[in-house]
């Protein structure tokens, strides 16, 4: 072979290695946190023993990389102390929070932002919108490769979070490990949302819950169905006095549906189980209580409900039926009940709330940081602040939800706990006992969605 040819190949090979190394170093340098490098020179003088004697002076240069990076990524965040994160957050100086909910939630979240700004000096902006739009926007930004977005914190429930997480639109760090105040959240809720594993990328900040709203002025506690086992019998005895929200139009409806299913076939059938349509189809068509399939049970229940075949189209429509005196018992969000009473539309003397046996599952809704959040440190500090006892204790009073941090319940004023919209039957009358000793059930998002889809065809259509 021609020597020149081989030499050219070798040179090209070396150039290739050089380019490859250079490119690799460039990528590494780009990913490496920009650190404040501290260089110091240490001079040691060592006296040598031995007959010859003499002195050697050794000079060493020591480089420290313990400074604060310019911005957080998925690796350097673990190397910083919380104080350093706070320091960086103040440097960022701003956090933008996207949330959703009713006007009560909007006002509360807006006020929280103002409180945060006042306390920390970090400017907080709250944007009230739709979780669907927010998540779709993040997914689009991920697809488009937009590395710097405009949202720092997103309030989301399980499905939107799953969509964002699956699309890679979530800041991929374990918030539960980094944020100090997260330790107060129940362990399962910290790592699962509606049984979907969050790996700590989503942290709950509150817990909206559904209970059974009943006419306290007409029904004594002993006259109520104490458990789901007694529900059908009660509905038969009181025809037209029970209803539930269309599961596709309101959360009280689908939460009731999955709660009923978990009771009907046993919680162990759902608890953190894998999902497949085949299994769901088999399960919900298999005989459960009363030797009926779940769909047969729902259709039997329907016969004795308020205007059989007609379901209220949304949480608001459902509670309006209660307010109009048409129904006496219905699954309803505690928060909506509170808001209706406070706005003067629902007579508080009518309001009784309890959770039937075995229990009602519920969601722990919370926040995540988008992959391209421009102020990640400020977002972490803000979430930590949201999880502080002081803020958590405001949640029951302001929006009628439970705090995510259990012990914050101790700080909730007794006057708030005594309001009629909180479940009064034990253990639900004391959140700490309930959370610590159960029963604390969760919704299984996939089975719940399956029920919602099939319900149209197998209950409403029928």
């Amino acid at each position: 072979m021609d020597t020149k040819y081989i030499a050219s190949l070798v040179i090209l090979f070396l150039i290739g290695i050089g380019i490859g190394y250079g490119a690799a170093y460039g990528i590494y340098a780009a990913q490496k946190p920009a650190t404040e490098t501290i260089t110091s020179t240490v001079t040691s003088t060592v006296t040598l023993g031995g007959g010859g004697g003499g002195t050697v002076t050794v000079t060493k240069t020591v480089t420290s990389t313990g400074g604060i990076p310019q911005e957080l990524d998925t690796r350097n965040v673990y190397t910083l102390s919380w104080d350093q994160i706070v320091q960086l957050a103040k440097k960022e100086g701003e956090v933008v929070w996207y949330g959703f909910g009713s006007t009560y939630e909007r006002n509360f979240f807006t006020n929280l932002c103002q409180m945060f700004t006042k306390e920390t000096g970090i400017k907080c902006t709250y944007v009230h919108g739709s979780w669907f739009d927010t998540v779709q926007r993040l997914i689009s930004e991920k697809k488009a490769g937009k590395t710097v977005g405009s949202i720092d914190v997103v309030l989301a429930w399980s499905k939107p979070f799953e969509m964002a997480y699956t699309a890679g639109a979530v800041y991929d760090v374990n918030l539960a490990e980094i944020i100090p105040n997260a330790k107060g959240i129940p362990f399962v809720a910290k790592y699962f949302h509606d049984m979907y594993p969050t790996n700590g990328r989503h942290l709950p900040i509150l817990s909206w819950w559904v209970g059974f709203l009943y006419r306290k002025d007409l029904l004594k506690p002993s006259e109520l169905p104490q458990s789901f086992d007694e529900l059908l019998e009660w509905v038969k005895k009181h025809p037209g006095k029970f209803t539930y929200c269309d599961p596709n139009k309101g959360g009280s409806g689908h939460t009731f549906l999955i709660g009923l299913a978990e009771w009907y076939y046993g919680y162990d059938k759902f608890a953190f189980a894998a999902f497949s349509e085949k299994r769901a189809e088999e399960l919900f068509n298999s005989p459960g209580k009363y030797n009926m399939s779940f769909w047969d049970y729902l259709n039997t229940l329907e016969k004795y409900m308020y205007m059989p075949g007609t379901y209220p189209q949304g949480n608001k429509a459902t509670i309006e039926l209660f307010e109009a005196g048409k129904v006496w018992l219905e699954p309803m969000w505690i928060s909506i009940t509170m808001q209706e009473v406070e706005s003067g539309r629902l007579n508080p003397d009518w309001v009784g709330m309890y959770i039937p046996k075995p229990t009602m599952p519920g969601p722990f809704d919370g926040v995540f940081i988008p992959f391209n959040a421009p102020h990640k440190a400020a977002a972490l500090v803000f979430i930590n602040w949201l999880l502080s006892d002081k803020v958590q204790a405001l949640i029951p009073e302001k929006i009628g939800a439970y705090p995510a941090v259990t012990k914050a319940w101790e700080l909730v004023p007794q006057s708030v706990k005594e309001q009629p919209w909180w479940p009064k039957n034990p253990p639900y009358n004391d959140l700490i006992t309930w959370r610590n000793f159960g029963p604390l059930w969760f919704r299984h998002a996939d089975y719940m969605f399956y029920l919602m889809q099939q319900w149209v065809n197998l209950v409403a259509r029928k």
């Binding site: 669907f132 697809k143 189209q313 309006e320 109009a324 048409k326 889809q453 149209v456 409403a460 259509r461």
Partner: protein
């Protein structure tokens, strides 16, 4: 083929329009069609599949029935709106009541009220404790037609949707008929009267023949608008059956079944195109002739 200077100028002038149509009309439609077979136009996971179509045409699934329900209710709403709007316009044309000039602006209210607000207004009236519900059910019960109150909203027969749609579409129909009716020569009406025609004869033999293409075009517009609306069927409709666009809304925002939503979208587009074609293809020329 030689491209002349004029051609280039035309292309340059029309380019923004073509670009606008491509971005705002063609690409979204293409996205819906491709999405219905599992292909993503803007990146993301793509896998060709006809599953959505198979699901749509499966009678045990709710989609096909929803499409029929949408067309059925839209047709009824259109017929009621067009007849009521036409007769009211004729009444004003013939009688010319003085009070009309004072209250005519009230008629336009439904046009400016957001559909959501209008729908919710009807919901509060037709809701089981709404006064209209009491009145209608009371009358029907006193006549012995029904034994117990029937649901007038969120009901399986689409009664609530009809109230909401007709409230808005009636005004649209009236506004569209009123203009053409004013153009009908008074001489024709007077001649008919001289020959002994009754008011009903005049409507049947003078007004309707002269304005028949206006009636067809208005009907087409109202039908398509009713089919396309989502706020009214969402608020006033029931759990079953549902308008197809409500199914699309639920599929996208609640159940995240994008492919089925895209398939429903394709059927919607096809239905709209077919209806649009039937009405406009056979009426446009005649309308032009009539105008001439």
């Amino acid at each position: 083929m030689k491209i002349s200077k004029d051609d280039i100028i035309s292309i340059l002038f029309l380019f923004p329009l073509y670009a606008f149509l491509a971005v705002m009309v063609f690409i979204p439609l293409l996205n819906v069609v491709l999405g219905s077979v599992g292909i993503s136009l803007f990146g993301g996971q793509s896998k060709f599949s006809l599953e959505g179509y198979l699901k749509f045409i499966d009678p045990s699934e709710p989609y096909l029935y929803s499409l029929f329900f949408t067309i059925y209710i839209s047709l009824i709403a259109t017929v009621i709106s067009v007849i009521a709007g036409y007769l009211f316009a004729v009444y004003l044309t013939i009688k010319k009541p003085r009070i009309w000039q004072k209250i005519s602006t009230v008629m336009t209210v439904p046009l400016f009220v957001p559909y959501v607000v209008g729908a919710f207004m009807w919901w509060t009236l037709l809701f089981p404790s709404g006064y209209l519900s009491y009145v209608i059910n009371g009358i029907l019960m006193s006549l012995g037609i029904i034994k117990s109150p029937i649901p007038l909203v969120n009901d399986p027969h689409g009664i609530g949707i009809l109230f909401g749609e007709v409230w808005i579409r009636f005004v649209v129909a009236f506004m569209m008929f009123y203009g053409p009716l004013q153009l009908v020569s008074q001489d024709l009406v007077d001649a008919a009267r001289t020959l002994g025609a009754s008011t009903w004869d005049i409507i049947r033999k003078v007004y309707i023949p002269i304005t028949k293409y206006s009636i067809i075009a208005t009907s087409a517009i109202i039908l398509l608008a009713t089919m396309a609306g989502v706020s009214i069927p969402l608020i006033l409709g029931g759990s079953w059956p549902q308008f197809l666009n409500v199914m699309i809304y639920i599929d996208v925002t609640r159940l995240f079944r994008f492919q089925t939503a895209y398939v429903s979208g394709v059927f919607y587009i096809i239905s709209s195109l077919v209806l649009g074609y039937i009405f406009f293809r056979f009426t446009t020329k005649r309308v032009i002739i009539q105008v001439r």
